[in-house]
Amino acid sequence: MSDATVPKPRTKREAQAARGPYGRLGQAINEADDRFGVAKGGRVFLDKIFPDHWSFMLGEIALYSFVVLIATGIFLTLYYVPSSAEVTYHGVYAPLRGVRMTEAYASSVDLSFAVRCGLLMRQMHHWACDVFVGAIVVHMARIFFTGAFRKPRETNWIIGVTLLIMAILNGFVGYSLPDDLISGTGIRIAYSILLSIPVVGTYLAFFLFGGQYPGTEIIPRFYIIHVLILPVIIGGLIAAHLGLLVRQKHTQFRGRHKTEHNVVGSPMFPTFMAKTTGFLFMITAVLTLLGGLAQINPIWQFGPYQPYKISYAVQPDWYMGWLDGALRIMPSWEWTGWGHTIPFMVLLPSVVFPGLIFTICYGWPIIERYFTKDNELHNLLDRPRDRPKRTGAGAAMIGLMFTCFAASSTDVLANYFNISLNEVLWFFRIAVIVVPIICGFTAWRICLELQGVPEAGKRKRANVIIRTAAGEYTSERTEPRPGDHDEELAPEPVPTLIELEPVGVADGGNGEVDTPPGVRRVTR
């Protein structure tokens, strides 16, 4: 902007004058505005306010993990061959040389060993998937406990739950693609789960797999589901998720100057953009470090899948672990009669149970509204303690999920603690009922207790006893300590132009004049 003051050759100055006060970029904006009308909405977008609370950034972990998933996934598609055709391996890894295997497995091993950076990309992809689903769950918990799903945001909650399901499905399908011994076992289990569905189960299984297990169709089919169908659905839902977020604006916690009718925080440009872009880099960094330094799914050790081979201690990835745990602890109930069989020990934990869980998730806004009869619009968030029943229900759900997840490692736990596997299994059969109750009740009770404590979580303020001249005693609370205020300043709309230093100092370039003392706001 200060170009105009810098002495330049005549012709250039004239050129600058012709461009207007905002130079080439300004001119470019003019050109774009002529065609697309970017100025009006763009300015509003630059000034868009994002509340600064740390818990509002959890969804970004998921979003940017997805970015990493797409980037690394594109790399992997260049080398992976989705084919069940048999080949003989002649690659780098000695213990597999001369072994007959599917092209899918051979190409997965080759891209790990022989392609530069291939293993890093594969491991980043896998870690990003684990983190992606984990971040979705954590984000979802934040939304749930703060009541951000309430009107008007029920639709976005439903989109979010769908995203979680799609992410889990795509994770499972992707996990199956290398066609190693472990993932092949997972596919076998998936086929058997489909078989367990009454009436249509066998048809579903035969249609998905193109016939009997394992067939040759499932790898190419899973591939197209994994790299096209589900990613497009996920991408579209993410776009809708963010679009609704922008349209409805972000929620915020209660606080001074924060109302149902405003949003207080940092502007999109430059503050939020700097923070979030930096966060994107850091998320990529954490995933890169995990992918480079922590080994995940070493398929070359597992060997190719053969239907008659098996390893002990095979588990699915963590986000499927709760289903595996539910399958393990289920008692052996099977119904037979009239020439038909319903394997409840498979159907209940692997079809009905997740169906129930996700139905509760989908329906929670409706369930809650049924009880609260609350039809208001809410832009301010609840503190979890103020909604003890909801918090209790959420804690119970987390307890249930965690118990099921832990039950998927009964063998590991029995081995580690040196106790009987059967006893561990019985422990979980009981815990899966008891733990959610304890979690729910404890959370509910803690919420009530916290409500009873005024200013819980804030620093204590001293009471000063004052003796008057007449000998009378009064007590007076001291001022809150610096920093304990919610906001000390009234928030303002974002100004068009900002100055961070006195005019002249920045341009003078001597760098000696610091910000004058006395105007520094106390750090929040």
């Binding site: 009006k40 890093l120 008007p152 966060f279 399958l327 038909h340 498979v346 961070l500």
Partner: protein, 341 residues
């Protein structure tokens, strides 16, 4: 806007007072002494140097990744890729975030939350238009609407056929059958027949029917059978087995389907002294003495048993095929063993 702090000047001199469609867009300036312009850093110069250092380290990391890629290390040094790139990304990101957090105006800034809902008049206008127009169109030409609906409905039913049906064959009886027949020779994974003397007591082996089956995954998946020779005379006499199976266990050999009746994993985990076959996937435990009845875990049905016999040359053969469908349960499966399609 007038209630805002003294540092904000509206209509900043020299700037465009953008006026579009009659709505003035204020071009405001927040001066450096406006408290909203304060940065979070206590010492901005120091923070700036810190961020600079971060960026330099980040650049080194990213450049280091390029160097590693150029050198192309052996597999034992693959971790260098992730380390260099990760460190590079991390410090670039950390520096950028710190820039935003410590060196940019901290506000707080505010934005009005506009009511999304329209006025009552607007809603009424919308609803009236939708209801009235639909009503007019459909009432006049209701039959056309019904025909169109019928077309869509029929298509959605018909579409199921190409979408689903062409994906795979019908199950028919394939889930009920295996390639085991009376007289099938037991062979191991290499195709070697199993001689009655070749397996030691306490041994375990995976066997298939002789023929082009064991190398075909579709056939091996359901034909796979676990052959045991337990160190227990009770098995050799078959006294704990269900009735009619005493002849199925020649020379103490006993064979069960290796496909778990729970979810189809190969039941290969054999605990010789406990006389249990355990499924490695969900730990169903089958007692081999009494016909592989599940003793613990989620499986509900015994593993089907393969009747064995010894031929004149001393080789093990199947005395019959499996009397029931092997593997996990499904809707069409019956309890009756002899039931076939």
């Amino acid at each position: 806007m007038s209630e805002h702090g003294p540092g904000v000047q509206e209509g900043f001199e020299g700037a465009f007072d953008g006026e579009e469609n009659g709505t003035p867009v204020p071009v405001s300036l927040a001066r450096w002494d406006d408290p909203h312009m304060q940065v979070a850093a206590r010492d901005p110069k120091k923070t700036e140097r810190l961020i600079m250092t971060c960026f330099v380290v980040g650049i080194l990391g990213v450049a280091g990744f390029g160097a590693v890629f150029w050198v192309s290390p052996s597999p034992n040094y693959y971790w260098l890729y992730g380390l260099t790139l990760g460190v590079g990304f991390f410090f670039l990101g950390f520096g950028l975030t710190a820039w935003g957090k410590y060196l940019m105006p901290q506000g707080p800034f505010v934005e009005e939350r506009h009511v999304l809902a329209g006025t009552d008049e607007e809603r009424d206008a919308m609803a009236a238009a939708v209801v009235q127009r639909t009503d007019v169109v459909l009432r006049r030409r209701g039959f056309l609407g019904a025909l169109l609906a019928a077309g869509v409905a029929i298509f959605s039913v018909v579409a199921v056929f190409p979408l689903l049906r062409s994906l795979g064959p019908l199950p028919k009886k394939s889930l009920f059958t295996t390639n085991w027949r009376r007289g099938s020779l037991l062979v191991d994974v290499n195709g070697t027949p199993v001689h009655v003397d070749s397996m030691v007591v306490g041994g375990i082996q995976t066997v298939f029917p002789q023929g082009p089956y064991r190398n075909d995954p579709n056939q091996a998946a359901k034909d796979q059978t676990v052959l045991l020779r337990p160190n227990d005379s009770a098995v050799a006499t078959g006294k704990d087995l269900p009735k009619g199976r005493t002849k199925w266990v020649p020379h103490g050999y006993i064979a069960y389907s290796q496909v778990c009746t729970h979810l189809g994993c190969p039941v290969k985990l054999y605990e010789e002294q406990l006389e249990l076959l355990v499924c490695p996937c969900h730990q169903s435990m089958f007692n081999i003495r009494n016909g592989a009845v599940p003793q613990f875990g989620p499986a509900a049905r015994p593993l089907p048993q393969l009747p064995l016999m010894v031929d004149g040359n001393g080789y093990l053969r199947a005395a019959a095929g499996y009397d029931q469908a092997v593997g996990p349960s499904f809707w069409e499966r019956t309890t009756h063993p002899e039931w076939h399609w």
